[in-house]
Symmetry: C2
Subunit: 284 residues, 2 copies
């Protein structure tokens, strides 16, 4: 029987910290404000958006929405980003991605002012993660994995961590953040041979493959902590992760659930970054 590493208490602790900092800012006449830039109406984006708006409301962060039609041009989007950059009362910007095909993702990412990049999409933010310096903000999902591990006091220094997946949104930044905690980190990719044996070497396994149920009991052993970043809808219409929870839970020591795990913490990380960006600007 594994300990279930629920996101809710992590979120509660983060909300408290963020709300307290918000109060301090409001006493100075500053309302931390998030710009949300959405192109089109993808269901995933809408669902994330609802979560972010609710969390912002709880903490005291204001939201300004910038909506473009699915057939908007790159120029249209760049104009909106320029507006967000220039607007002094906006502290952070969430741009929903992936963008439709008419956009050049790299050009668009580069257009955002690094100090407003609370979602960790600019090269400055990624350089900050890689070099372990205070440049921009870490990608929120990667940071959410670490927030959970730290909240539940999972030992990392000197332990072995395996990250399955090497995206710039989760896998690679999570690997760098685990390294920063002095874990010995292994990054697996789709060419990795004998993934089950490699996963079993780890004390902490972060699974960010984007493949439903790809990690099962064959990859796991007792004593491990498993962080499941995946989120999928199964054939019964239920949310599930990259890990086969029912196989994993009886084997490992601790595991994050899906839903109610990494995803819910990600939203709080994002909102926290907005508050931090406002505090930084105010010299707090």
């Amino acid at each position: 029987m594994a300990t279930i590493l629920k996101g809710a208490p992590v979120v509660a602790a983060m909300n408290e910290r963020n709300a307290a900092l918000c109060e301090q800012l409001k006493a100075k006449g500053i309302t931390p404000t998030l710009a949300m830039v959405r192109v089109g109406e993808r269901e995933d984006d809408l669902s994330y958006e609802r979560g972010v708006i609710a969390r912002c409301g709880k903490v005291g962060v204001e939201v300004k929405q910038f909506l473009l039609p699915a057939d908007a041009s790159q120029d249209d989007l760049l104009k909106v980003i320029a507006e967000v950059n220039a607007e002094d009362t906006i502290h952070g910007c969430l741009l929903f991605r992936p963008l439709p095909k008419q956009f050049n993702d790299r050009t668009v990412r580069a257009a955002l002012a690094p100090e407003k990049d609370i979602d960790g999409i600019t090269d400055d933010s990624l350089a900050g993660v890689f070099t372990n310096t205070d440049l921009g903000y870490a990608p929120c999902t990667a940071q959410a994995c670490l927030e959970i591990l730290k909240y539940y006091n999972i030992p990392l220094s000197g332990r072995r961590a395996v990250v399955v997946g090497r995206s710039l949104v989760v896998g690679k930044p999570a690997a760098m953040m685990l390294d920063r905690e002095n874990a010995t980190v292994t990054i697996c990719n789709s060419r990795t041979q004998n993934l089950p044996a490699i996963c079993k070497e780890a004390d902490v396994v972060v699974v960010a493959m984007g493949k439903m149920g790809a990690v099962g009991a064959d990859c796991l052993r007792e004593g491990q902590t498993v962080v499941d970043v995946g989120i999928h809808v199964n054939e019964n219409g239920k949310l599930c992760g990259d890990v086969k929870f029912s196989e994993a839970e009886p084997v490992v020591d601790a595991i994050t659930p899906v839903p109610g795990g990494v995803g819910t913490v990600t939203t709080s990380v994002l909102v926290g970054h907005v508050v931090q960006a406002a505090a930084k600007k105010a010299g707090l």
Copy 2:
């Protein structure tokens, strides 16, 4: 009896490519030019400098030296860097580091124009390595490890690589470049427990600990390729690496020597970056 992965043939192949590109540039009236900025007279710097000047001469790259006294101020150095940035005929800049204590390394690194950062010290270059995009240049020693592995056709895709050391100059960028080649990469640090067992998991071991003779036969097994990044002077006044060569050589399949291995290739990577920077600017 291991195959000795000597740097010399790698260097010869790179020199040939670089000289050919130099010829093309000279036909357009362009001489690829490297600025070398040195503060003080550290013996390590002088020795590297001599190697770079000789290699540049061989390939057809011009060198301009900017020398400052050991007690130069940060402003003095920033002025020199501004001059290098502004000078149109300079294509790349090598700044010898570590700098004396009166300098803020990060401020100085940030001052260099990314397109002239042929030594991979700016955040742009490091972001390029992390995100696998064409931003700046990779740190030369890390790239030298990969140049050797590729020249000798050491298989990397799907293989396990262990990088011992996580500096931004070698370990971390080498790990990212091995990941780019689809290796499954483990990054070890000073807190890593049971380093010998972890090293033995690897098909390719890159040792960049900066500790003389830290890796011996207990960390190695047959079938492995070892890349030794260390360079030290032993008690008999001889150059040696992080790996105990006499212990490793009878055990592993292939190993780079010290001297004559990674170090000699590093210089060619640096000179190659200058030529590439000139070619990029010329639209070649």
